[in-house]
Symmetry: C2
Subunit: 181 residues, 2 copies
């Protein structure tokens, strides 16, 4: 529908940048549209089989955007052009201290396509072995091992408030045939 | 962990703005952190009971951020300070042409808390009556009525790629006790 558009980069951060489009519509009306140009991100579901079911390594970290410490799955932004699996392994080691022997994709989604190009890929991470990498300087992360059944209940009832984690946990439960209605 | 921070607004759009924080860490390292300051949004699940189950009014629209026409639930950004239910009714009328006799919340979540303050509230919209409002000038929206069972299957298997819609549809299925493992 746009008939004219000029774009410029307004801010360039270390992982994403803001592009602003100046749009003119057919009726002559003009407006600006902000687009977060994002290289994509991985979301990890570190899974451990235990006696009576499964455990997931959740993390807790302070998020300046929402001014809260939140419970979420480990995740991280890809470098521009970085391979998905390389990024997945790196973020897993940085955030949980473990490397995965096996990574299984549970699909991709856009968390905020109304204004952001970010595409997220979900991975179940299994066969975990201790192999830490230093965390990013701006991150203080606490690893929180939880029973999968408990996290699934939280994804259903709203106690889990992070979108990528809700999707990841429910897709995993489905994958394991454990949706627990 | 931050010991010093200066913030400024880098871009102000019609619905959200970009704030950039200049952060200095205890070790003296400096970096910039971009935050999308967002007033929040509603996500609507317009639901119609039919002979053999339920129908959902999905929409299809072009999203410049991902450069694709995507299938999603109707949704829209709140005005700063706008009431959630007022916003829900307005967006439903603008995007589907219907008003809801009954709106039921299915909870809230952050779609992208890594860089955005946006909080989304999910509503099931029932008792629909034709009562359209003009659409936003920059939106061209096609209403796509679909069988709920089909959309639930798409949320599980990855054909539905919009995060808010995956969460909305699965929460609805759970709400109706229809998770269909």
């Amino acid at each position: 529908m746009d008939i004219e558009q000029q774009s410029h980069i307004v801010w360039q951060g270390s992982s994403w940048r803001l592009r602003v489009d100046e749009v003119r519509l057919p009726d002559g009306e003009r407006f600006e549209r902000g687009i977060v140009e994002h290289p994509g991100a991985v979301v990890l579901i570190p899974l451990v089989e235990v006696e009576d079911g499964y455990m997931v390594l959740m993390i807790r970290q302070y998020r300046a955007a929402v001014e809260e410490s939140i419970l979420e799955l480990p995740a991280g932004t890809k470098g521009w052009g970085e391979d998905w699996l390389v990024c997945a392994q790196r973020e897993l080691r940085e955030e949980t201290g473990y490397r995965a022997g096996k990574l299984t994709s549970l699909g991709q989604f856009w968390p905020a396509p109304g204004f952001s190009s970010e595409l997220m890929t979900l991975y179940v991470a299994r066969e975990l072995a201790h192999d830490p990498l230093p965390a990013d300087v701006d991150e203080e992360i606490e690893v929180v091992p939880m029973a999968l059944a408990e996290v699934v209940a939280m994804a259903w009832d709203g106690r889990l408030q992070d979108g990528k984690s809700i999707i990841g946990i429910l897709r995993l439960a489905r994958h394991l045939q454990l949706t627990m209605l």
